[in-house]
């Protein structure tokens, strides 16, 4: 036996190493399994289970109390009694039970026999048909015989079965007799405590006992885990993973378990119910949870199921700190499509509701859009779908409007002249206030002013005939409807047009007079309508407006412009296209003014003034700002944060850029012409916040056609109309489309306020509306406000008419609607009623001048051309409901007619008769036969009708 082979090392020492290693490995493996299985969302689900258990047990208590113990006790007594009674018959009952058992066995056997026979029957019938089909007659006959033979046997078996079943039921009934009472009582009691038992079961299910513990243990949680991932797989919504579409799967409900359940409105987050479930998430709401999911609106990573990886975004710094403490939150570094902070969630509405300009359910987004339109963001920034009008005044004839000095003072700081102006400040801002830039600013302003003066054609101005009277002017401004757009004379109901203050130190009398008479002569596409002012009115208003002066602004002394600065700036522009030497030479040749004008032109091009103003030479210049069509999905890395300490999110960058655009130049070493050019709008925080929501809504995400909220033709026409209404600010005067006319609040007597246009589509005929809008005529003489002439072109007029008709779901009929009077007799009675109601007393067709206001009501001769026939019927019934505050009384209060003898007092017929009469009514015939003043003997039937309120 060869000796023992030599040892390499002591096995014992290695065993120790082995022991240590295996213990450590065991510990680390167990630790690995535990760490892998303890997921954050499991913790939340257990908390939710506990929360719903507490809720259920609370309900249980309530249900317990709700059970009226008295009735329950009485029922239990009944059960007791029934049981004792049935005990008395116990032997009887056992006998019946035995019989039932036997009956069961018999029926079973009978049924089996019956079913066997049925099998034979069916197969015989099959073979019979087969053979007959194949014309093998003798086999067919054999099967026929078989069928015949088995027929009676089969029916007998069926009969036996049925009789046995019947017997069985009888016995059951007998048994029932004994236990019946007990049965019903017990069922009664059960119904009473049914709610309670259900809740008890529910509470039992929700308690996290040891059995649940095992079912959710790491290796066993595949059997029946109570903690598991919940997700919504969305059929036609996709995540855009850059050039490939992946199906959207939202796992948010794994932690947000109570999101679509009632009853968790005030539960702690993440279990709180979604606000306004009838609009979001409910099965019948427009955004059901199964079809919409969560991330399409809120953003974030739907596939992740933990607080940080789902890319939650806090609403503000305070919430960020709270989250850091509570959930160890930190911005999810590697997920670009982060969640929108809740105060900007409305931004996602634009994804599907693209076409709608106005979204009542998304007030902040709509406000953001409106601000972007009114402050002219689209002048510099191209945004698809938002090509709007030029917001600033036309400068093509500015020479005949303003002085050069005024323009210079204005450009220094527009808000000096008029604090409420929408014109942003362009020069002397944060990044151009160092001495070097300041002088360049002044040179630029002077240059721009020079350019504008030189490149604008003067237009013929007429002088006001007489020096107007400011008091009358002020009264006229208040009465004629200027307050519909402007805030003036101490009343600021509307801010659509500029505030009429300080005009004295801005414009000349001739210009203002001509402008008031016919604004279009000065600026063809101006939104300022003409109020068809008479010369006298115009001169009164001119004198009043010119009396308002802004001395402080006038006293600003003009900055001195050094010619060498102008020259150096002009050189800078010229060297972009020419070589240094050639540029210098050319500049030498130009005179001082030419250089200034040249610089002015270049500066206008550089600052993008042509975006808001029409300027000669810049008719089709390109917008200078970056395109914002997909700003909401822009990669955060592409936003230049510079040295400004901001958190790296889109919303914080947008907010800062809107509040203080030039801050991003801080700390940068830039020549004057490469500095940031976005002007300072001085938005309030609330305005900036709404604009940020609007910017975040400009997203690139593609929503499939099926999910889009496509507007049908009618809605599109309404949107087009709303655009015009917004552009011309009709809602400044009129109550329309859900918005109350802004000036109505000024009027103490609503009858004197501009008419309410809700329901105008049903009221007026389209051809008339078309003609009226293009050239308004007075309908309600007692109104001091005048419907201005906007000078709409054909396209806008048709859009407006369609807008009014569609608002009231009335098909736009561009054909005049006539009325077919049925009989001559109706016309006659219509005339008589017309006489009796003395309509002509107010509705004079040619009102004599000087009559007091109340006598002037709309001219009825126009009625048949203006009004829709069936609207008149509604109107005569009760005018107050259609036009609240109107002076037109109701003659048929509560549907009762004051004239009983015509059509037997049937109000509807009488109204129809009056309406038919109106359609053939001609004022001449009637005015001559006007009822004489003194007591014509109208039928003195004092109609007394009692009417209850």
């Amino acid at each position: 036996m060869p000796g023992q082979a030599p040892k390499l090392y002591s096995i014992k020492k290695t065993t120790v190493a082995f022991a240590v290693a295996s213990v450590f490995l065991l510990i680390s493996l167990v630790w690995m399994v535990l760490q892998d299985s303890t997921r954050e969302w499991k913790g939340w689900q257990r908390k939710f289970m506990e929360l719903s258990r507490q809720k259920a047990s609370a309900e249980l208590e309530a249900a317990g109390k709700a059970v009226d113990t008295a009735k329950l006790a009485e029922l239990t007594k009944q059960i007791e009694a029934a049981r004792t009674q049935s005990k008395a018959h116990s032997d009887e009952i056992t006998r019946v039970k035995k019989e039932i058992a036997k009956a069961d066995v018999d029926t079973l056997k009978a049924r089996a026999h019956y079913q066997d026979l049925k099998q034979f029957q069916d197969s015989d019938r099959y073979f019979l048909e087969e053979y007959r089909a194949h014309h093998e007659d003798e086999q067919a006959k054999a099967y026929e015989a078989l069928l015949a033979h088995r027929g009676p046997e089969f029916s007998k078996a069926k009969a036996d079965l049925e009789s046995l079943e019947a017997a069985r039921e009888g016995l059951q009934a007998k048994l029932e007799k004994f236990t019946g009472a007990e049965e019903t009582a017990r069922r009664e009691a059960a119904k009473l405590t049914q709610a309670k038992t259900l809740l008890e079961k529910k509470v039992k299910k929700l308690t996290f006992d040891w059995m649940q513990m095992i079912l959710n243990a790491p290796m066993l949680d595949f059997i029946r885990p109570s903690l598991q991932i919940q997700q919504i797989v969305l059929e036609n919504l996709y995540d855009d993973y850059y050039f490939n579409k992946t199906q959207k799967v939202d796992r948010c409900v794994t932690c947000h378990l109570g999101i679509d359940q009632k009853g968790f409105e005030d539960a702690p987050q993440p279990f709180r119910t979604h606000p306004r479930p009838e609009l979001f998430l409910a099965a019948d709401s427009p955004h059901p949870l199964e079809e919409i999911g969560c991330t399409v609106c809120h953003g974030g990573s739907g596939h992740s199921a933990s607080f940080v990886t789902a890319a939650h975004t806090p609403r503000d710094k305070k919430q960020a700190e709270a989250w850091e403490k509570k959930y160890h939150w930190h911005p999810m570094k590697h997920w670009s499509e982060k969640m929108l902070p809740l105060n900007h969630a409305e931004a996602s509405c634009a994804k599907c509701h693209a076409g709608q300009a106005e979204m009542p359910e998304a007030p902040k987004l709509s406000q953001g859009r409106k601000l972007a339109e009114t402050f002219g963001c689209f002048a510099c920034h191209k945004v698809d779908g938002f090509e709007r009008w030029k917001v600033g005044p036309n400068l093509k004839h500015v020479q005949s409007k303003l002085e050069q000095d005024w323009i210079i003072r204005w450009l220094q700081n527009p808000k000096e002249f008029r604090p409420s102006t929408k014109m942003p400040r362009i020069f002397h801002l944060r990044n151009t206030s160092d001495p070097g830039s300041a002088s360049k600013n002044d040179a630029a302003i002077a240059a721009i002013a020079a350019y504008l003066m030189k490149n604008s054609e003067p237009i013929a101005l007429d002088n006001p005939p007489a020096a107007g009277d400011p008091q009358k002017g002020e009264a006229l401004v208040k009465e004629l409807g200027c307050l519909g757009c402007h805030s003036a004379a101490g009343v600021s109901a509307n801010h659509h047009g500029p505030e009429l203050s300080g005009l004295g130190s801005k414009v000349k009398a001739e210009w203002l007079y001509t402008w008031l008479k016919d604004p279009k002569r000065y600026h063809t596409e101006t939104r300022m309508p003409s109020l068809r002012l008479s010369d006298e009115e115009a001169s009164h208003i001119t004198s009043y407006l010119l009396s308002l002066r802004n001395e402080k602004f006038e006293s600003i002394e003009l900055p001195h412009v050094k010619p060498e600065v102008v020259e150096q700036m002009a050189l800078n522009f010229m060297t972009t296209t020419k070589r240094q030497v050639e540029a210098k030479a050319e500049l030498e040749k130009m005179s001082e003014e030419d250089r200034l004008e040249y610089l002015g032109g270049k500066m206008i091009g550089q600052q993008g003034c042509f975006g808001c103003h029409d300027i000669k030479g810049f008719e089709n210049a390109k917008q200078i700002g970056t395109e914002l069509s997909e700003e909401g999905s822009k990669d955060v890395e592409k936003l230049f944060f510079g040295f400004v300490p901001l958190e790296h999110t889109r919303q914080s960058w947008f907010f800062q850029k809107l509040k203080e655009p030039r801050i991003f130049d801080d700390g940068k070493e830039l020549p004057y012409f490469e500095k940031l050019r976005m002007p300072q709008f001085d938005f309030t925080d609330e305005q900036a916040d709404a604009l940020v929501t609007f910017l975040l809504s400009l997203q690139k995400t593609v929503i499939p056609e099926a999910m889009q909220n496509r507007l049908d033709l009618r809605e599109q026409q309404i949107e087009a109309g709303r655009l015009i209404v917004a552009q011309f600010h009709c809602q400044g005067c009129h109550t329309l489309d859900g918005k109350v006319g802004a000036v109505r609040e000024i009027f103490e007597d609503k009858g004197k306020a501009p008419p309410i246009l809700t329901g105008e589509g049903k009221k007026v005929q389209s051809p008339w509306l078309y003609k009226f809008l293009s050239g308004p005529t007075t309908i309600r003489p007692w109104l001091t406000y005048r419907m201005p002439t906007f000078g709409f072109d054909h396209a806008k007029l048709t859009e407006l008419v369609q807008y009014f008709n569609n608002l009231d779901q009335v098909p736009p009929a561009f054909v005049h609607e006539g009325v077919v009077p049925s009989t001559e007799e109706e016309l006659q009675s219509g005339g008589k009623l017309f006489q009796m109601f003395q309509c002509i007393k107010c509705h004079k067709s040619n009102p004599e001048p000087g009559l007091s206001a109340s006598f002037l009501a709309p001219d009825l001769a126009v009625a048949r051309e203006r009004l829709r026939p069936d609207w008149v019927l509604e109107w005569l019934k009760d005018p107050q409901t259609l036009q609240e505050g109107t002076m037109m009384p109701t003659f048929f209060s509560e549907g009762q007619s004051p004239v009983p003898d015509i059509f037997e007092g049937d109000a509807a017929k009488q109204i129809k008769a009056i309406r038919d009469y109106l359609w053939i009514f001609n004022p001449e015939a009637v005015s001559s036969g006007a009822p004489s003043a003194k007591g014509t003997q109208t039928p003195a039937s004092a109609a007394s009708s009692s009417a209850t309120a």
């Binding site: 892998d36 790491p218 796992r251 596939h303």
Partner: protein, 275 residues
């Protein structure tokens, strides 16, 4: 009553059948059919343990003392093989949940991070891969420092070098599978070098010489980079191609070469020792 012969009542007693594993192993047919060696603590039995076991007989029965020292071999080769095995195991577990298409790849990895049971296999697989590269380099380092590449083991050294390269390729192809920014751009950078292969890369020197008449043979659609990526850029085809390379192609070659490698170690005289 004393004196009466107490009939011992049949007392029912139950005794667990003794079971000794040793007897089971040595005596029963089942035991003997599985284990072909006994328990004896003697050299014969130790030899049989190695000889009769397909895994152990990777080693000879006896080995030179110097070769068995941890200080000499650092167990680097063995550990490389061991971590390769753990990678195969964790890799197969990952294959249960990972779908190599552009739509699902990323989401499946997120699912593993978020809720798939044993999602930690992904960590094990990734860190195992890095560990394997370090261990393989260490093994090469040890073999070089002990001069064990010298004849007769030179061919085995060549196989070792090839295995090293294949390990790096395995890691390279695996790097792309999570399909995130890190992956796609690491592979793009890596594969851009292939563009410049002499003659075979469309931006490599000599590519323009390979012409058939005026038809340029090597262009961006037919060069070695295109073959590697299955397209002009790292796309869905690349993901699938790398998945197959990573899970089937390269591991098979590696296993084959490992077999040769182990066999050559034995054939070239076991762990090297001074002459």
């Amino acid at each position: 009553m004393p004196g009466q012969e107490e009939q011992p009542k049949k007392k029912f007693s139950f005794k667990f059948p003794e079971f000794s594993f040793k007897d089971f192993r040595l005596k029963t047919q089942v035991g003997k059919s599985v284990f072909r060696h006994g328990y004896a603590d003697d050299d014969r039995d130790r030899a049989l343990t190695v000889l009769t076991n397909v895994f152990f007989h990777l080693h000879p029965v006896k080995v030179r003392k110097s070769g068995a020292r941890f200080g000499f071999t650092w167990c680097a080769g063995g550990l490389s093989f061991f971590v390769f095995l753990t990678l195969v195991v964790s890799g197969i577990l990952l294959m249960f949940y990972y779908r190599p298409t552009v739509e699902y790849a990323y989401n499946d990895i997120v699912a593993m991070r978020e809720h798939v049971p044993f999602g930690i296999m992904r960590e094990l697989h990734r860190w195992g891969a890095h560990a394997m590269i370090i261990t393989v380099w260490l093994h090469m380092f040890r073999v070089f420092m002990t001069g064990s590449y010298k004849p007769p083991r030179e061919f085995n050294w060549v196989i070792g070098v090839i295995l090293l390269v294949l390990t790096m390729l395995l890691s390279f192809t695996g790097y792309l599978l999570p399909w995130d920014q890190l992956a796609i751009w690491a592979i793009t950078v890596g594969s851009n070098m292939a563009r410049a292969t002499p003659f075979l890369g469309h931006e490599g020197p000599g590519a323009s010489l390979l012409k058939l008449g005026d038809i340029q043979l090597i262009h961006s659609g037919s060069d070695v980079r295109f073959a590697l990526l299955g397209g002009n850029f790292v796309g869905a085809a690349t993901l699938l191609r790398f998945y197959i390379l990573h899970c089937v192609a390269i591991p098979t070659v590696v296993v084959l070469l490992m077999a040769v490698h182990f066999w050559r170690i034995r054939k070239d005289g076991g762990i090297s020792a001074p002459l």
